[in-house]
Symmetry: C2
């Protein structure tokens, strides 16, 4: 484990997000800048994180949860805090649940570049009284994972029992497998990919363009002014379509009109799917920063396991892996379709590695990993228990 | 045929679009307003149209071509005009081609609501010196087709040999089949649907939101000011992703970077697919009106053959059809997937109707109907010749 001048602060209720107990771990202070993959530096680096359960004496029961594009450290309601609101993965993380906090010590940190407590474009730039904004350095999935490793070092954990996450969280899981193969026993990438298709890049780019088209964007310098809410809302709506399947939208909305008797261009006479998307867009701008959206989607677009670790060969890249893998895809996920998970499975099998793969039948599209009722919890519970007991 | 005080003007080169010879047909003058499906009225109504070939003495060789969302009357280069630029369907329409202008009299008119010569939101509102803008009435696919029928009346054609079109043009074809079954012998809807899925509505809605989020949109009143180009460009980019398949994007762009050595958020270091989309967005705003985009996408979203003609039953709706149909879908079209064309085929078969169906294997997605090399031309040529010769 690297040595680093780091400090850790417990912040009780009353933090900016109101989610109850949360820790802040800060490293890479003056003179110890964190070097970034794109060549620049970041200092200091703060990670907001939460933990659940207790690290055992052997320190072999730690599970790191990696969140997706717009997530945060609050994966689950903290049982020790009356104040904490619902977590984004409550059906998976908690006492007696798949990621059983009675048994495992669970950690989730906000990724760097984000805006829920960790260092990102909306953080104050050292030596100034203003946020980084567009001066925030380019970050990658590698950088996010390297920051997480500093946290794991700080927590005194030599080897994680598992690293688990969906979507962009799954990319972090795969990056862990390639970069720190000796620091983990197992890994569970869900609804993820080893690299974005051109179509996925295209959707992200149009979402970014929507933000940059907003008159308030101002090259990212909007923190003391009106924020680019309209652009960010459109960006979120674009994303949201890609998270849901055609079938899920049909089941949820079909062609139901808000007011079936009137043909009109006026809002209020819309299809229900339109009202839903607008609502999603509006809700999102209350909690997310447009610059973070730009940086994180870009990091996801650049992620390419085969390029970074195998000179273009996925088989070569995964030859570095030492973890036992459970790979999960969902039938109606058209953002990261099953064929992409199968490519990873194939590459691991060519290396004669220990890999389990499950394609879960679920109608909810990419978002399925965030929703109960698919059997994902039982699958993960069984796999984790097996790994924990060395089966 | 209805009587109508109408007039027709031939306009030689020098028209605003620079596409060479084009006609303008105007009807619904003062006191003869065209009533619209949503309850309001439009007067006068002008259709910009072009024709190719010669109407024969029996007047039984006329083929009406219906264009898609952003198309215009210029389906093919006019052989009688040196000035005319390429048409949007040159590989299909011309001497010796599938829609053979040596044999058929081919008509294509710009849809109402559009901005390429026909009456739309950018047309001057009568009694004022300003464009309709947001005061343009809500229009539907039905209204577009009723206007086309006025043109067909005007041209003295009792019965069209065929009505053909792709995408939103295909919706017009189906509307013709249901509304004017006695005015046509055959119909060829391509890459189309009898109604939008929730997902298709969602994409259109996000594109509209992108326009309305543009600070220049100004509730549609932008004609004397800066136009909402950024929003319209984003809208076009969203559309463009849905027109191409995942596979087509992979073949065309893959993950190729403009400059592979630099990781950056700056433009110029983008993935090629991003530059392509931006280029498409920029090109589009030079030729298309944002309000027309809002009106026409809305019309497409509302289109629902089963609701309008069958009280919700597609089988009942198509029981009105009398035309011979050739229905064509494309394997990688995920905007209007093949299952939607099959629903139409099934409904017609339940009515024991004459319907041919072909799913063409093509990697280009929804846009495939606009591109040569898929065999679509041979398919249409054979079907049209068969219909023409009463086989």
């Amino acid at each position: 484990m690297e040595k680093n001048s780091a400090f850790d602060t417990r912040v009780a209720r009353g933090t900016s997000d109101g989610n109850g107990d949360r820790f802040f771990f800060t490293f890479a202070g003056p003179g110890q800048e964190m070097s970034l993959e794109a060549g620049s530096f970041l200092s200091p680096v703060t990670l907001a994180y939460e933990t659940w359960g207790t690290l055992n004496a052997e320190k072999n029961n730690a599970v790191l949860v990696c969140h997706a594009l717009s997530g945060d450290a609050h994966a689950a309601a903290s049982p020790d805090s009356q104040e904490s609101g619902p977590g984004w993965w409550d059906f998976m993380v908690g006492p007696g649940k798949a990621i059983d906090t009675d048994r495992y010590f669970v950690i989730c940190s906000n990724i760097i570049g984000s805006c829920a407590g960790s260092t990102g474009p909306s953080s104050i730039k050292p030596g100034t009284d203003r946020p980084y904004a567009g001066a925030f350095p380019m970050i990658t999935i590698t950088d996010m994972v390297r920051a997480q490793r500093h946290l794991i070092d700080h927590l005194g954990i030599e080897r994680l029992l598992s690293v688990i996450g969906g979507s962009v969280g799954g990319m972090q899981v795969l990056e862990w497998c390639a970069r720190y193969p000796d620091r983990m026993v197992s890994a569970i990438p869900l609804a993820s990919t080893t690299r974005h298709s051109a179509q996925a890049i295209a959707f992200n780019e149009v979402a970014r363009q929507a933000i940059m088209a907003d008159a308030n964007w101002n090259l990212g310098n909007y923190y003391s002014k009106d924020t680019p809410d309209m652009g960010l809302a459109v960006a979120r709506m674009i994303g949201h379509i890609t998270y849901l399947s055609d079938e899920a939208m049909k089941v949820k909305f079909g062609r139901k009109l808000q007011n079936p008797t009137i043909l009109s261009l006026e809002p209020g006479h819309d299809f229900q799917v339109e009202s839903y998307l607008r609502h999603q867009g509006r809700k999102f701008v209350e909690r997310f920063d447009a610059n973070s959206f730009l940086y994180i989607t870009r990091a996801a677009d650049y992620f390419d396991l085969a390029r970074d670790y195998g000179a273009g060969s996925l088989e070569k890249a995964v030859s570095r892996f030492k973890a036992r893998l459970l790979i999960v895809s969902f039938t109606t996920d058209w953002l990261y379709p099953t064929y992409q998970s199968r490519e990873l499975v194939r590459a691991m099998k060519q290396n004669l590695m220990d890999v389990s793969f499950s394609e879960i039948t679920a109608k909810w599209g990419h978002d399925a990993f965030l929703l109960p009722g698919t059997g994902l919890d039982r699958l993960v519970a069984g796999f984790l228990a097996g790994v924990y007991h060395g089966r």
